[in-house]
Amino acid sequence: MNVEQFLYLEARLLDTGQLEAWLELFTEDAIYWVPLERGQQDALETSSIIHDDRTLLELRVRQARHPRAHARQPLARTVHQVGNVTVTAEDDRELQVASTLQVVEFRSERQRLWGALVEHRLRRDGGSFRIARKRVDLVNSEGELEGVTVLF
């Protein structure tokens, strides 16, 4: 599978509500990061909109499935539009991939649009990849946001 096909697969899993299958794309040591600030380097002494290791990401998915997850049930319907896919570095083990992302979210009679610069660190895994790190820089991360309840 090439890099673009892999990113499209990832988007498709999110858009069809297959959150557990999406989780399986991540390595055990993965970090899923939505920084609060543009150019943010530090995640321990600067806040993040989301900063999850694999354990916390699993709990996040489990929480979203809970019948009383008021802000997430029923799950929002989304379209993840991936673009400008560029491999920026690679070696035998991993690839660094830059892309852009637009997410259209619909829930409770309201539609929202998110835009982000995305960086994936993909680890080669047989003929495919797994995600070792994903960083999503929302264009409005420093603005006044409504609650973030979708996964990017």
Binding site: E45, T46, S47, R60, P67, R68, L145, G147, V148, T149
Partner: protein, 435 residues
């Protein structure tokens, strides 16, 4: 139109009329009579440490600049050029010698005094006399926290805060040497609901079991928070979410106190020592030692013995003195509110203490957290329900008739789950609105 008589009737014993949350006319009056009169929390001195440092915020809906002057004092200036009304600085923060209006270049010093006007010969000198950025009439600082009031007169800050000063004391006293600084980024969120809904939620000991049921369940399924120093960075947040599932009897047993100006705080409900200072944890131990070095052992013991959960400062602030988070709300419309959430670092404490503050902020109070987002969802559902005129009254009766008088005209709930603090907020509301 004389609204005063009906306004007074909107608040009744144990209930309020839905229009206090949903009527745009009531909202406009609130901006003038409550946000235009009360002391509002604007920020913290650490945001403007040296002369010329400034940051922008809002008072009611007025854009203002908080600036450190050349004399070291803090001024609050209305962010509006005296000429044609443009804001003179963009949203954000920085350091300046002069604020220069982008429109026609009028420039103002750090005190807001007009210093230069391009094409000065084009104006009658008389018309420029006294022109400047309007100063917010009252500014005061308590334990490093900056307050402003748009009203030229009113109770002094300490009288306004009353016994709530003790919560600010708790915030500052817990920092070794009293040193606190805003750090680690600012979360900003908006919700489609009235500003009062947040203040009514932060001391509500019944809602966590229901609103936060999903995050309590997820946290219970998390790996056991690690041994001190060997856990996950988010252990503190897992502990906090689990604590939200505390039994009703625990919530009943903690106190809730109110003050005559509508402020209130909830006693602490943490039974997990690792949230609040377990001496076997290396970071807590080093922190306690640092505190004792500055304050003395007995005083450190006293300080750490004061345990409060949220404190609400009516009408625009809520904070967690133990976990060093402070939220400032900005009413945007009757059904829309912005909230800015700040984390505080104690420079005299081990770095792990601030890392815990950041993890706590991310997972519990952050824009993407599983906890906050469920609160926001419920605020919006309440707003939707109250927007309909089919049912007129909102029930505020939990613990009604059982409130206990405290010194100075304040009330304490007979139980930690009493809605006494909401009734206190509305008693203050009624006074502001009909004064």
């Amino acid at each position: 139109m004389n609204l005063d008589a009906p306004l007074a009737e909107l608040v009744q014993p144990g209930r309020v009329h839905r229009s206090v949350y949903a009527d745009p006319i009531v909202f406009e009056l609130e901006m003038e009579r409550i946000f235009g009169r009360a002391w509002l929390v604007l920020g913290h001195e650490s945001q403007v440490p040296v002369p010329g440092d400034w940051f922008t915020t809002r008072m009611a809906r007025e854009p203002v600049i908080v600036v450190r002057g050349d004399d070291g004092g803090i001024a609050v200036l209305v962010n509006r050029c005296a000429h044609r009304g443009s804001t003179v600085c963009a949203e954000g923060r920085g350091n300046v010698e002069r604020f220069v209006c982008p429109y026609h270049g009028w420039s103002y010093d750090r005190c807001g005094t007009l210093r230069s006007v391009p094409v000065r010969s084009g104006y009658e000198e008389e018309s420029l006399r006294g022109a400047g950025l309007q100063r917010v009439p009252r500014v005061a600082v308590y334990r490093g926290f900056i307050f402003g009031s748009l009203a030229a007169s009113g109770p002094p800050l300490e009288e306004f805060l009353g016994p709530a000063t003790a919560s600010f004391d708790d915030f500052a006293d817990r920092a070794p040497g009293g040193a606190l600084e805003v750090r680690g980024g600012v979360f900003k969120h908006v919700y489609g609901g009235n500003w009062k809904l947040m203040l009514e939620n932060h001391l509500d000991g019944v809602h966590p079991a229901y609103v936060h049921a999903s995050s309590v369940a997820a946290a219970r399924g998390a790996p056991e928070p690690g041994a001190p120093g060997a856990g996950h960075y988010f252990d503190i947040a897992v502990r906090q979410m689990r604590q939200n599932g505390a039994p009703e009897s625990l919530w009943e047993s903690i106190g809730v106190w109110t003050t005559p100006h509508g402020h209130a705080w909830l006693g602490d409900y943490h039974t997990d020592a690792r949230l609040t200072g377990d001496p076997s944890d290396p970071a807590f131990r080093a922190y306690r030692e640092a505190l004792a070095r500055h304050a003395g052992a007995a005083e450190a013991q006293r300080i750490l013995g004061i345990t409060r959960w949220n404190t609400v400062v009516y009408p625009n602030c809520s904070f967690m003195s133990q976990f060093r988070q402070l939220r400032i709300l900005h009413p945007l419309a009757v059904d829309r509110t912005a909230v800015h959430t700040y984390s505080f670092r104690m420079p005299g404490a081990p770095p792990q203490m601030f890392r815990d503050t950041v993890a706590f902020a991310n997972v519990v109070n952050g824009t993407g957290s599983w906890v906050l987002t469920d609160d926001l969802e419920v605020y919006e559902r309440v707003q939707r329900g109250l927007s309909s005129g089919a049912v007129e009254w909102v029930h505020l009766g939990r613990g009604y008739g059982r409130d206990l008088p405290e010194a100075g005209g304040a009330l304490r709930g007979a139980s930690g789950t009493s809605e006494v603090f909401i009734r206190a907020q509305f008693a203050a509301w009624q006074r502001y609105m009909t004064a």
